[in-house]
């Protein structure tokens, strides 16, 4: 049951004073599917290096900063995962080999008691942007079960938003032998977002104009091309003793992680130096990914007194 493509929505969201990003959607969970076979890549995608961490680390961290609810990584039975950001949970698929439908069922079920909606993505989206995640989640109203982007010419069920209430339906379809996500859409109320609808969001248009959020990497060539891309532009501010000689004034740099941003301005995250991303949580984790438009504040860990 597909609805017509959404019309562009303008000016509907509040604006963040720091970055221009819209507000985070509340009561939303993030689900990252890590259990794919990575056949064409030849290496588990979840373990692919990404600017000092892994693709999976990036995906989970982007989820964590995009939603207010829990973030869950769904692993295949027995799958060993690389290190994850603090607070990210792991659930295992109960059955191996049933594809993303199984991961979707397990992920939605894992968060259903704590969130009404969830953004679900695969591990292999190295340019997934929080603005895209929020745009898709915001389109998910109570009367819709799934928001399915149709971006860059393809349906994107693994970069889409779902009501967690459909966890049972997905499990039922699986039990009936349906392993393709497309089957879900035959049984749900689905809204599709095309490129224009996605880009009608000012933040998406500004920070992800090519909709690279849905660009996935399937082969070693894809991965190398993605890895060789220039890091995003972010704004760095330093405060206190870290800001000698006018260093507190905003500076635009290119960096894929907080650690890289620190390095560019001559800092190292340690017990004396911490960072806050877009004025939110304070962190010492230099592996946390940055995206275009981010603002990173570096401050003395001994702030106060």
């Amino acid at each position: 049951m597909l609805s017509t493509l959404l019309s562009p929505v303008r000016g509907a969201e509040g604006r963040c004073r720091c970055t221009g990003y819209p507000r985070v959607v509340g009561k939303a969970a993030g689900v990252v599917l890590a259990g794919g076979r990575s056949t064409r890549m030849g290496t588990a995608k979840s373990e692919l290096e990404w600017h000092g961490s892994t693709l999976l680390y990036r995906a989970a961290a982007v989820m964590a900063r995009s939603v207010d609810g829990p973030v869950v990584v769904v692993a295949a039975p027995g799958q060993e995962l690389p290190e994850l950001p603090a607070g990210v949970e792991v659930v295992e698929d109960p059955v191996d080999g049933l594809g993303p439908m199984q991961g979707l069922a397990a992920g939605l079920a894992a968060v259903a008691d704590r969130a009404d909606v969830a953004f679900v993505c695969s591990t292999d989206l190295p340019f997934l942007h929080p603005a895209y995640v929020r745009r898709v989640l915001r389109a998910l109203t109570d009367d819709i079960d799934v928001v399915l982007p149709v971006a860059r010419g393809f349906r994107q069920p693994l970069a889409a938003a779902y009501q967690t209430r459909i966890a049972g339906l997905v499990a039922k379809l699986l039990a009936e032998g349906n392993q393709r996500p497309g089957m879900i859409f035959k049984h749900c109320d689905v809204t599709q977002l095309d490129d224009a609808a996605l880009l009608a969001d000012a933040a998406v248009a500004k920070y992800d104009p090519e909709l690279d959020s849905v660009l996935n990497v399937n082969t070693p060539e894809d991965y190398r091309a993605a890895r060789d891309r220039e890091p995003p532009e972010v704004v760095v501010e330093r405060f206190g003793a870290l800001a000698k000689g006018g260093g507190h004034r905003p500076k635009v740099v290119r960096a894929a992680t907080i650690g890289q941003a620190a390095e560019v301005v001559g800092l190292t995250l340690d017990r004396h130096v911490v960072a806050a991303l877009n004025g939110d949580q304070v962190t010492k984790d230099g592996r946390l990914p940055l995206v275009a438009g981010d603002a990173v504040a570096f401050l003395s860990a001994d702030a106060g007194g």
Partner: protein, 598 residues
Amino acid sequence: MAPGGFFGQALVVDVHAGHATGSRLTLDDQVLRAYLGGVGLGTWLMHRLAPPGVDPLAPQAPLAFVYSSLVGTPLTTSAKFAVVAKSPLTGLLTDALASSQFAISGKLTGHDAIVIRGRADELSVLLIDGDGPRLEPAPDFAGLSAADAETKAKERFGRGWRTAAIGPAGERGVRYATISHDGRHAGRGGLGAVLGAKNIKAVLVKAATKVGVADQAGVLAAAKDLRGRSFGPATAKYRELGTLANLLAFNAVSTLPTRNFTAATFAEAPRLAAEELHELRGVARNSCASCSIGCEHIYARKGGGSQRMEYENVFALGPLCGVSDPDDVFAASARCDELGIDTISAGGTIAWAMECVERGLIEEPWLRFGDGAALLRALDAIGSRAAGLGELLAEGSRRAAERVGHGSLDFAAQVKGLEMPGYEPRSLQSMALGLAVNARGADHNRSGAYEADLSGDVDRFHGGAAHVAAAVQTEDKAAVMDSMILCKFLRGVFDDPFTEWARLLALVTGWDLDADELRTAARRIVRAKRAFNLREGATAADDTLPVRMLETPIELGSGRTAALTADRLRSMVASYYEARGLDQDGRVSATDLADLFL
């Protein structure tokens, strides 16, 4: 024989009519070792000497200047003294620390503490040296600022004396008046009003003796080592820009209380930022006595003169009142110093009044957020206890709100009557607990729980078990640092604080104490403070935050909101009680009471 660094006695001065008499109170090794000195020993003295239920402004209420074994040693930042009394603002224990030569001279009168009771017939100064106390009439000191009183005392009594004095606000009983020496203030809780109620404008001390330490060579080596470490990265913030460096950083992480805690960011914060002012106005840097950090930053004022600025006075007289003109904030800070009032309580009380005016609860239409001239006018009214607004605000925000009513207590930003410092509790939830449970009231110096929130190690928007542990740990550390006494700006240089502090104390005193014993002392000091408050009528209901903090989420710069619910805070307080070995009503057990050596 007293342990190294101690005299083993306190001087108890009773002021009556035109005379002062002194008596010696023995401080045995057990008490000194249990409480260390400073705030800890001061707490023990209040248990012993303050009559239960005493009015803090009554003659019988004691006020104690307390030193420690480290005072007078070459250890950096050790020239500090604690002033301890029952607070006229909270009705509970209050203690404040200041750093200056007054600490060294006061201790070298031959006492580990000087306690003052009674009331003089007329405004007087109290002089204490090796011959004991004496009272001198000083009616001509009336109305002087603390700095001017210090100058006048020097002229009259000679240069060998060190003077701690009150300003006109202390004489007039403003409940958040300060005691000052050499531009440093024992600021919080209204200690200046307690001294003023005794009709004592100033206390003068003169060194008369010496005190040895257990291991002179060891202390010298430790002092050299500590001094070296004090130049490292852990103190860079204080050295480079001072505490005012917090302002822009706190603004960036949405924890800069603004317009009476209705916002956590202040759009005009850069105008008041150390980073900007340092370039435009910075004129000098200064250190307390015996300090190698040099955190004090002094800025040029428009039209001449200079003013020392710290984060807390800029926050309280700036963003909290919506004032962004640095010259207005400088002038307001200077006015607080002249009057002798605590900048945090002054700013907090005025910000509350500004919101009352907005809501039509106080009819003073000129008192508006953002109006620097109105801020100065309000400060003058407080300092002079002018009829109407001045009398009202001189009582502090809690008493004023109780008089104004109409729900205004809900947005009076205070805990236990003490106005809140510049840390937004909804976006710093370890600190929220620290502020709620602290014995002194809303306090950032006796609970440094914000360290956890800003460390990146906890989720600062969702308080829980880790936040409780952080609040307990930082409170324990503060209890030791404030008692032994070292400046908390040094805290970052210690890798293994309790072990290193135990070693320092062992070198000075000769005690064979270790980190565990020091931890036990920390817990004892925290419990002793609570026990005093319980004795004075405090209950678990006092361990909370204003309704505004618990019912109104605060918007963050990221666009998200941070909320601290009453349930979450209650849960953290309950866990705190459990961690502290208190019962569910926050009471100290009989076993623990016995360990207080009262």
